[in-house]
Structure formats: C-alpha cells, structure tokens
Amino acid sequence: MAGEAISVQGRARVAERAIAAGSPYLLIAPALLFMAAVSVYPLFYGVRASLAEYKYGRELGFQGLDNYRRVLADDVFWQAMYVTLRFVLIAVTLETILGVALAVLLSRDLRFAGLIRTGLIIPMTVAPVVVGIVWRLIYASDVGIVNPLFRVAGLTPPDVLSHGTSAFLGLVAVDVWEWTPLIMLIVLAGLHGLPREPIEGARVDGASELRVFFDHTLPLVRPVLLVAIILRTIDAIGTFDQVFVLTKGGPGTSTQLIAIYGYNTAFRFSQYGQASAMMLLVLVGMSVLLVAAIRTIRGAAKKATGAA
C-alpha cells in the first residue's frame, strides 16, 4: 500500500517536472506581452514624447525638459490640478458618508432588500458618457427639471451649467449619484461577513445606534472601506466622460479637470509633448496612491481567498 502511494506521488512529481521545463512561462508570456503593449510601451513612448517638441502635431526633435518647464509654469495646469483635487475630495467624502449610511440601512432585515439594492446600483452600471446625457437632461435650462423644481419652491432657477460654482457642484452631484452605490455595495459586502454578536450585544445593553455604529460596526468594516475609498479616489482623478458631455470643462475653467485639460492639450491643440509631460507629472503625483492601492488590494484579496 505504502509503496503504491509513493509511486503515485513519484509519477506526479515526474509530471510536474515535465511542466516545470517552461510551460507556465509559455502560458503567461502572451498575457504579459499584451499588457506590456498597452502600458510599458506607451509609457516609454510617453516619456520620449515629453522630451520632444511638436508643432501642428509633428515631431520636430528633442528639446530636453522644456515641456516640463512649460507645464510647471502654466497657470491653467495648476488650476486644473486644483479643480481636480477639490472635486475628488468633496465627491469621495460625500460618497463615503452616504454609501456607508445606505449600506448600514440596507444591512437591516428589510422587506424587498434585494429589489432595493438592485434599484440603487443601477446608476453605476450606466456608461459614464450616458450618465452625462442623463444629467444634461436634468440640468438643461430649457427642458430640464432642476429649474422647474426651483421655481416651484419659489426660488430663482439656477441654470446649473451656466455658472462656474453651480456647474462644479452639479458635477460633484453627478459623481455622487453615480458612485455612491459602489461604496454602498462594497461596505454591504463587508458587513455581510461580520459577526453579529458584538453589535446585538451592544444594542441589548442600550447603546444608541450611533454608538453601536462608531464603536462596533465601523472598526470592523474599516479594511473593506479603505479599499473602496482608494479605488474610488484613483478613478475620480481620471474623471473625463461625464465632464466631456456636460460642460467640456466650462464655464471658463471651473470644471476643467486634469483629464479634460490633458485631452484638450493633446487632441485639440496637438501639443503631444506638453500633454505627455503633464500626464507623467500626474502619474508621479498619483504613484503614492497607486502603491497604497496595490498593497491594500493584494492584502485583502489574499485574505479573502485564504478565508474561502
């Protein structure tokens, strides 16, 4: 018996060795090639382009760090960075608060819980371009719904997209509408795996709902929430589609996020060198965030797989 088992293991080992000769590397090679073709290669090309001079979209030769100097001296660039930062901070904060609140509400034993959840996540399944269309129709000064609502309330109709401040806030509202469900869904998934006893226990002891939430629920979902916030922040920095449809960055530069400015610089003004330099600076600025994301996501993914 024992001899047989060993020979079986032995044969398995022979088979393993045969594969070890290179087969897994052969299997991963095409995947790595594909990924490198759309990331490493363009990134190198981007670095190259950032050092070159372009006129009317044609490369005229290298000019050292001029593009970087020009970007760093460009007020519009800094303005766009500032608008982006403000947009991301306000939107992600609101999404986190609302998303957590909704998740806690939905984690109760509700009637129609499944149906409610389905209804709530629809906004984030809509293509971001279409989200832009949806809100164009809501904000429109002639056919929209916001102006009539204000009129009914006896207030001056705001013409949301025609003024800097309201256009910016309107954009934040769109992002909150679209992505609060993401935070909600992630936190809900996190709440699902929690032990109920400490929470029930605290309730029985007469702790208020807020106490229970801050003392028991929040610490337990914190790791999950962190993943959600980091992912959302990275995505929000790249926001483009909705703005392109809603305001194209205007009025003035009030909603010109960095992605919009980068797009305009490259594809409207054909300043590929300057645009590349700008985007590389953004990438460097984001790298801390990316590293944090990789750490937390890999860690969480490992734990999730280990627990399963």
């Binding site: 088979a15 594969i19 070890a20 087969s23 897994p24 590397y25 052969l26 299997l27 991963i28 095409p30 995947a31 594909f34 990924m35 073709a37 759309v38 990331s39 290669y41 990134l43 090309y45 382009a49 909704l102 109760r108 409610i116 389905t118 209804g119 709530l120 809509v126 293509a127 971001p128 371009v129 279409v130 832009g132 269309i133 949806v134 809100w135 129709l137 429109a140 719904i145 993401l182 999950v224 990275i234 995505d235 790249g238 589609d241 392109f244 449809v245 960095i258 992605a259 797009y263 594809f267 985007m279 990438l283 994301a293 990789i294 937390t296 996501i297 890999r298 969480a300 993914a301 999730a304």
Partner: protein, 275 residues
C-alpha cells in the same frame, strides 16, 4: 412608538434614495419617447404623445446601426482574445512551478494597468497607433481593449482558479492528463462561473469605454456606441429627443447585463479584494 417612527424614517430614507437613483434615468427614457413639442411643453413624467421617431432618426441619419455594429465587433473580439490569453496566463500563475518573481510582477502589473487613468495611456497610445496606421480602425481599438482586458482577466481569473484545490488537478495529471488537457477537462469547468463573471465584467467595461475610443477613432466606420452618443452633443442646438434616445441605447444593454451578474459585481469592481 419610538421604534415605529424609526422604522418609518428608515423606509423614508430608503425610498428617497431609490427615487434619486432611478428618477434621472426615468427622465431620460421618458424624454426619448416624447415629441419635440412635448419636450418643451413643461415637466411631464410620461410621454404625452408616444413616438419612436427619435430612435428612428438615430438609425436613419446618424449611423447608430454602424456604431452598434462596431461596438459589437470590438467588444466580442477584444473580450474573446483577452479571455483566452488572460485565462492561460492566470492558470500559469496558480501553478506552483512558476517563479515567485514573475508571479508578483504579473499580478502587480495587471493591477497597475487596470488602475492607471485612461487619459495617461491615451496620448502615447495615440502616437503609437498612428505609427502603425491603426488610427480610426476597429483593429486598433480591439488591440488596445484586448491588452487592457487581459489585465482584468489575469487578475480575476487568478483568484478564481486559485480557489480550486490543487489536489483535483494533480489527480488528473496522475491519470495521464497533460497540464493543458487538465485545464480544459477539469479546471475550466470548475472555474466556469468565475469565467462567465469575468467575461461579462469585461464586456461591461469595454462597451462603456469612451475616452480611448473618442481619441483613436474619427469616422462612423470605426466609432463605437459611446462615441456615437457623444456626437449628439456640441452641435449648435441640441436635439433633446434623439440625444435621450441615444442615451437609452447606450445604457440599456449594459444595465440589463450588469443586473444579471450583480452577485459577481463587487468582486469585479474591487479587483477581487472583496467578494
């Protein structure tokens, strides 16, 4: 008494949230079935005179047939390629015989490709595609989307395949399977639900993609549906009816699709960090 007020306010908050989530989409759908006169005649939550004209116009005058066709071709091919390439790669990563270095490199690489904002890739990729003569072609888009999707597939399938106990596969190898036939006969059937979820998630991401398609294509021969939708904006006067109809066409297939795989949604969106 107190608990009753609490229940009422709880349901009140939820109803409010659902209305806020769904009303804007309802408004777009309603507008898409209205005649121009009715669109301008004030707020009405249902079409006063139901019409399909807005949709007809999109397909008759605005190339929506070809946008949809392009999206179909681009999505099908790029997702198909990336599933094949990515699943094989992910399978290799779950095998103990692969070096830890290359494993880490592949997984971290996949995450980074997935997370870098598309605008950062758009500019250099535009120059590269231009050199290859692939601007304004479906082939160029397929190539770019396949590359981006491979990262998603590698990352997600690695986690699904990793859940399959290695003993099952080892038993197959002992029975005389080669690694590839073991993959096909034993491992893939077990990972099928994960693969379906990955495929559908890739379809959603690809169909919804806008910035790269906008940057790399310029004619209805290769433009996808999201770019098509955006062509209705920016003219001197916006035609609200057709624009709303375009939005509906751009959104509905994916809404339906996404709701079908809700269960897998969190995992895809969080790149497997949360199930």
């Amino acid at each position: 008494m107190r608990s009753r007020t609490r229940t009422v306010s709880m349901y009140g908050a939820i109803v409010l949230a659902v209305v806020i989530a769904l009303f804007p989409i309802w408004w777009m759908i309603v507008t898409s079935f209205k005649q121009p006169v009715d669109i301008y005649s004030g707020v009405s939550l249902v079409p006063q005179h139901f019409t399909m004209d807005n949709y007809a116009e999109l397909f008759r005058d605005r190339h929506f047939g070809s946008y949809l066709g392009n999206s179909l071709v681009v999505v099908a091919l790029s997702v198909g390629i990336s599933l094949a390439v990515g699943t094989l790669g992910a399978y290799a990563l779950t095998r103990s015989t692969i070096g830890e270095r290359i494993r880490r490199l592949s997984l971290v690489g996949a995450l980074v490709v997935r997370m870098v904002p598309p605008i950062l890739l758009a500019i250099p990729l535009y120059i590269v595609l231009g050199k290859l003569g692939l601007l304004d072609t479906k082939l160029g888009l397929i190539f770019v989307y396949a590359g981006l999707n491979v990262s998603l597939v590698v990352w997600m399938m690695e986690s699904y395949l990793g859940e399959i106990p290695p003993e099952i596969e080892e038993a197959a190898l002992v029975d005389g399977d080669t690694p590839l036939s073991a993959l096909r006969r034993i491992v893939l059937p077990l990972a099928a639900p994960g693969m379906v979820a990955t495929a559908i998630f890739s379809v959603i991401v690809t169909y919804n993609e806008f910035l790269l398609a906008l940057s790399f294509t310029s004619t209805p021969n290769s433009q996808t549906i999201t770019v098509g939708v955006s062509t209705l904006i920016g003219k001197i006067q916006i035609e609200w009816g057709p624009m709303a109809a375009a939005g509906v066409i751009g959104a509905v297939p994916i809404i339906v699709f996404a709701l079908l795989v809700q269960r897998h949604f969190v995992r895809g969106l969080t790149l497997g960090a949360i199930k």
